[in-house]
């Protein structure tokens, strides 16, 4: 039974991906104690149980910080004005990556992780927008009179506002376990 239990716990751990090691070990010990008491394996899908427990415990602080910290450069690189310095830079691709990152944070970490990761992606975009506005004269000394249309500026502001909102709403859509 021990090897069956081991493979069941492996599935549980897989379902609890990104949960802190302490909570994972503590929960697996609880399941082991149950198996020792009943002499049978816990019923049902181990991975589904792990995912349900992840919604209870939430992801670890380390992963929350990692999600937020990584969102900063993604947000910065998704600013379209970056082409003033690096022509042809795929800023839209980075915007898509930032959005996926925010959705990932919302999926694993819930609405608050989604919100803060969204904010972490949005803030450098808005800072870059303000910075760019002030630096435009300097940039145009070295580049061919770079211009940004009102449409692009509006799109930057709008997408920046949308990122935390999407993160918050997407995080709230995750169903509670049965």
């Amino acid at each position: 039974m021990m090897s069956d239990l081991e493979s069941y716990l492996k599935q549980v751990r897989k379902g609890m991906r990104f949960v802190s090691g302490f909570n994972k070990t503590s929960f697996c010990n609880e399941l082991t104690a149950q198996a020792e008491y009943t002499g049978t394996l816990p019923s049902g899908d181990g991975k589904a149980l792990g995912r349900a427990m992840r919604q209870v415990y939430g992801i670890s602080i380390f992963f929350r910080i990692l999600l937020i910290v990584t969102a900063f450069p993604l947000g910065l690189l998704s600013t379209p004005m970056i082409v003033a310095w690096f022509p042809g830079f795929p800023a839209t691709l980075f915007l898509l990556l930032a959005l996926l990152w925010v959705l990932l944070a919302a999926y694993y970490g819930g609405r608050w992780s989604g919100l803060f990761t969204g904010l972490a992606a949005a803030i450098p975009r808005l800072v870059a927008l303000v910075g760019f506005t002030f630096a435009l004269d300097f940039i145009n000394q070295y580049f061919d009179s770079y211009q940004v249309s009102e449409g692009v500026l509006g799109a930057v502001v709008l997408t920046s506002i949308m990122l935390p909102i999407i993160g918050f709403l997407a995080g709230g859509r995750i169903r509670r376990p049965d």
Binding site: N29, Q34, A52, D178
Partner: protein, 127 residues
Amino acid sequence: MDGALRETVIVARKVDAVSELRRGALELALLAYLNRKTDFGGAMISGLAEATAQGLVITEGALYPALGRLEKKGLLKPELRKEVEGRKARKYYALTEQGVERLQELKAAWIPLANGMELLFGGGNDE
């Protein structure tokens, strides 16, 4: 919609409705059970089934997330007890003061609801 697919959707909705009902009752059932005695997860599954005359048969997939949520809300207090040498310590759950208060609240709401439903179903004689 294709007949077989429609049948599948209906069955899925029925299962969903039943699990919604169970989920609502589970919190109260766990609080009521743990108000009688402190217990650990492994024993709670059979204990609950026995205490409710097989009316509430649950699996680990329902029990542990529910216990986790109640613990997170501060309604349960866990305690690790090493009872058998060479085996993992068991995590026993007991109600906190807040848990007892919550039980009283839920019980006060549940009893008239259950009585009302019983009358609605025809006093249990209506099959």
